[in-house]
Each structure stands twice: as C-alpha cells, then as structure tokens.
Symmetry: C2
Subunit: 260 residues, 2 copies
C-alpha cells in the first residue's frame, strides 16, 4: 500500500518541482518503488526528468477527464512511463491541456475525487507516490489534497513564502473536514536557504517557531547544481551526486523513510 | 489616457510582483501618476507595499464580481488606496477571495472583459496602470491580457523559466485574436541574473537569440535587498536607493518612459 505525499504550496517558485523530482529519485535509489505524478499544467516535473511535453500522447489530463479512445477510457496504467535512468522510478506525465481541467471539471459530479479514483490502482503497486502541484489553490490542488495521505510544504526562505502559509493551511483544514479526514501534514521543508543572508536565517527561525507541524531537520540550501540538473533532464543524484543538493535530498528521503 | 501594462508569466517565482511594485514606484518617483492593480489571490503586491491583506475591506474581487453593498455596486474608485509613502503611487488591493473568482465567473456573460470594464474610468486619471498577475493561465490572466495595452514578461534566468514561454505566447496570441487586438508585447525582462553562474548567462543568451520580441536592455540582477524590502513594506527605492536593485528598476522605468 503506497504512501501518497502531496508537495504543495500556492506560492510560486518555492521548490515544489525540484523537491518532487529529487525526493522521488532518492526514494527510488533506496529501492522504494516510486511514482511521480505531475499535476502542474507547466509540466516541469515531466521535462525536468528529460521528457518532451510535446511528445506525450496521453497525460494525467486524459485520465482525470475520462477521455475515451476507441470507446475505452484511458487508464492510469496506459500513461505511466518507467524512467530509463533510475530503476524503481516511474512518472505520470502532465500536459498543458491540464490548465483547462479546472474549468472543465467545475460542473462534474465528485469533481474533487477524480485524482483519488485515478490513483486507486497505483496504490497497490508502489511504495511511494509523490504528487507535484501547480502554484494555486484551485480544483487541481484540492484534487491532490483529497488523494493524498500527507502534504509536504516546501517553504522558500524568503518573505512572501511565509505570507501564503495561512491560506494553504486553511485549504488543508477544509479538505480534512470535507473530503479527506486522513490527510495529515508531513512537514515543512525549508528550501533555497543561504546561510550568508540574514533574511534566510530570519525566515527559517520564524518557520521553526510558528509552524504548527513538524519542520524537517534537513534544510535544502541554495545550490546551483539543483537548478542546472533539469536542463540535462536528470535528477540531482545522477547529475552531481557530490553536490550539497544531492546530500540534502538524500537526507530528506531518509527522514521520510523513518516513518515506514 | 493611461498606458496599461500587464506583468505576466505563469511560471512561479520569476519576479512578477517584485517587478510590478518596483517599476510602478519608479514611475511614480518620475511624477507619473501610477496605479498598481494586484490581481493575484496571494496579494503579494498588497502586502509588499505594507498593507495587511486581512485589513482590506473591499478588493478587486468585489469589483470583478459586481458585489453590491446597500444596493450600490462597488466601484474601482471605492477601493483605490493612495500610497502614504510615495506621491503619485496608488494601489488596487487584492484579497484571498480572488481565488474563487475564476470559478464564480465561469458562467458569467463577457467574463473575460470584467477587468477591462472595471479599469475604464481609471484610464482617464492615471499615466500608467501596472497589473500584477497570478502564476497561472486561467480566467484571471485572460482578464488581465484583455484589459492591457501591452504585456511585460519577467523571465528568471533559470531553465524552467524558458520552458513555459511558448504556452504564455500562445495565450497572448489567442487573446490578441479573440479579445484584444491592440495587445502588444512590451518586452521580456531578464530577472535574478547572477553573473557568476553559467546557467544565468546561458539562459540570457537563449532569450536574446530566440525571443521574438524586444528584450529590455536592463537586466535585473539577483540582489538580496530586493527580497528584503517587502518585509519592510517598502519598494526598493525607499528601502535602499543605493542598491543594484534600485538602479536596475530605475533603468527599467526609463526604458518604459522612452515610448511616451
Ligand atoms: N535549493 C535550490 N537551489 C538553487 N536553485 C533552486 C533550488 N531549488 C529550486 N531551485 C530553482 O529555483 C527555481 C524554482 O524552483 P521550482 O521550479 O522547483 O519551484 P516550484 O515551486 O515548482 O515553481 P512553480 O510554482 O512554478 O511550480 C527553479 O529554476 C529551480 O531550478
Ligand atoms: N532580482 C532579485 N534578486 C533577489 N531576489 C529577488 C529578485 N526578484 C525577486 N526576488 C525574490 O524572489 C522571490 C520571487 O519573486 P516574486 O514573488 O516577485 O515572483 P512572482 O513571479 O511574483 O511569484 P508568484 O509566481 O508566486 O507570484 C521573492 O521572494 C522575491 O523577494
Ligand atoms: Mg513546479
Ligand atoms: Mg507574485
């Protein structure tokens, strides 16, 4: 039975995709069968792993909107891609069409539970399912939180990143109350930390003192190797295993596996 | 007759809010009467100028959804705030309610033209109107592009920032064809450039060689003062006029004013 972890934060550019790709690949390196689900219309998790979003024939969009081809609806198993570079790592790709899903699903029955339903079969096959979210609190993110067991919140060590936390926790509470009572907070992950900057230290202190849940021991420091690796279509452990980025995400995977 | 500039890019964290606040305040410093419209439910432009989003009674959300109070609908003039720190600078605040507007407007007639209609009166009173956008290509962004004369595209000097450009230009073309034929591209603005990193140089070269429109001469370099200033509720020219961030945004304002 897989553990489903949603990586969410409506603030843009805080490290959701970087965390999803690198946490998942570190879990796979530890021989946990891991599935990354790219739920962002930008498809950054798909391209960050080296796939061309324009080559993807069917994506999570087609499964959520129950698209049929030759009178058979597209299943999750039809679109899962096995990574050609890391064993135990699989991907459910996204596509720009997903941007339309929010409006297309508005009047559909049980619109919030589409992803939960789509992932039901995958739960039996994988140890971990990591879901990368778009930077918004719309229907896609509600679907993600409804399907997940827990939510991992990347928090960039910058001022605006703290601002949005209350709204996100509000949405989590609403989902816990109305759609998914088992949803818990996996933890807050400090990202892009730069020890030379007072701002980084100040935000990290603020998060540790006022975040109501767990804050991961590991802090992801700012590391240019992390921002170079997607342009080579590789997770950090394949691009530069000796980098601080690789060390940080391996430590994050260890913290997550402690709960097994 | 105001010039309305939309600051758009669906990629998160590329510097849309930082550019909106600081371009607008530099234009105001040059005695152009300037209005910032915060169209992001995160309300970062509102808080970055020192206003508490929870203190805001009515916001752009109430104008777009034509909310009425004592049988009178809320007008833009009812919600405009004059900056208490910079002359000639005004703000239309946002609120978290705006996140619901996309779904609420789905079945409304002329849903894409709500902002254009709301800004019609303000066009006569201001020299510039700068609109900060959310990180998505939904109905809010379509409203923004429909209301605007031109679109300024901040591009972070990172790999994922280039990935999303094609989708954004697609949306701009669709709006030009169906909703706003006068919309032009103001230019691409390179942000968070770090001269020590090959990645920054590579992305900057790629943008200059393959972006079809104008690329601003000024490049906004990575500068911690820019990320500190919102925590003091001040634009960069009030927080640290001697910083590279202040110099960069003053130069951007000069480039924009050249078209007057
Ligand atoms: N620790 C880090 N050090 C340096 N750069 C980083 C780090 N983490 C992420 N980045 C870079 O910062 C940018 C933003 O990260 P990323 O795209 O993962 O954020 P996101 O939250 O997924 O963004 P969006 O809101 O658009 O989905 C990317 O260019 C990424 O390569
Ligand atoms: N030139 C710069 N140098 C250093 N930090 C910067 C610079 N520009 C922006 N920042 C910081 O980077 C972060 C992202 O910028 P900002 O919030 O303006 O982006 P955005 O595109 O508006 O994000 P969103 O997609 O969430 O709306 C902020 O914390 C901001 O303070
Ligand atoms: Mg992302
Ligand atoms: Mg913003």
């Amino acid at each position: 039975m897989a553990k489903i972890i949603a990586v969410c934060n409506q603030k843009g550019g805080v490290g959701k995709t970087t965390t999803s790709i690198n946490l998942a690949s570190c879990l796979s390196a530890a021989e946990r069968k891991t599935l990354i689900v790219d739920m962002d219309p930008q498809s950054n998790a798909t391209t960050g792993l080296g796939y061309d979003k324009n080559d993807i024939e069917y994506s999570i969009y087609d499964v959520l909107t129950e698209r049929t081809v030759e009178s058979k609806s597209i299943q999750l198993s039809d679109i899962i891609i096995k990574s050609d570079s890391i064993d135990y790592l699989y991907l459910v790709p996204s596509s720009p069409d997903l941007a339309g899903a929010e409006i297309e699903l508005v009047n559909v029955i049980a619109r919030e539970k589409k992803l939960e339903k789509a992932l039901a079969t995958a739960r039996e096959e994988f140890d971990y399912i990591i879901i990368d979210s778009p930077p918004s609190l719309g229907l896609l993110t509600v679907n993600i939180l409804t399907a997940a067991d827990s939510v991992l919140i990347p928090i960039q060590c910058e001022y605006y990143a703290l601002e949005g936390l209350a709204e996100l926790l509000n949405t989590v509470r609403l989902v816990q109350k109305n759609l998914n009572s088992k949803l818990v907070i996996e933890g807050a992950l400090l990202t892009m930390y730069d020890g030379r900057l007072n701002l980084s230290k100040q935000v990290a202190d603020d998060v540790r003192s006022c975040f109501s849940g767990r804050v991961f021991d590991v802090v992801i420091t700012r590391n240019v190797k992390l921002s170079e690796s997607p342009s080579f279509g590789k997770p950090i452990i394949l691009y530069d295993i000796m980098s601080s980025g690789a060390e940080n995400y391996l430590n994050l995977a260890k913290e997550i596996m402690q709960n097994e």
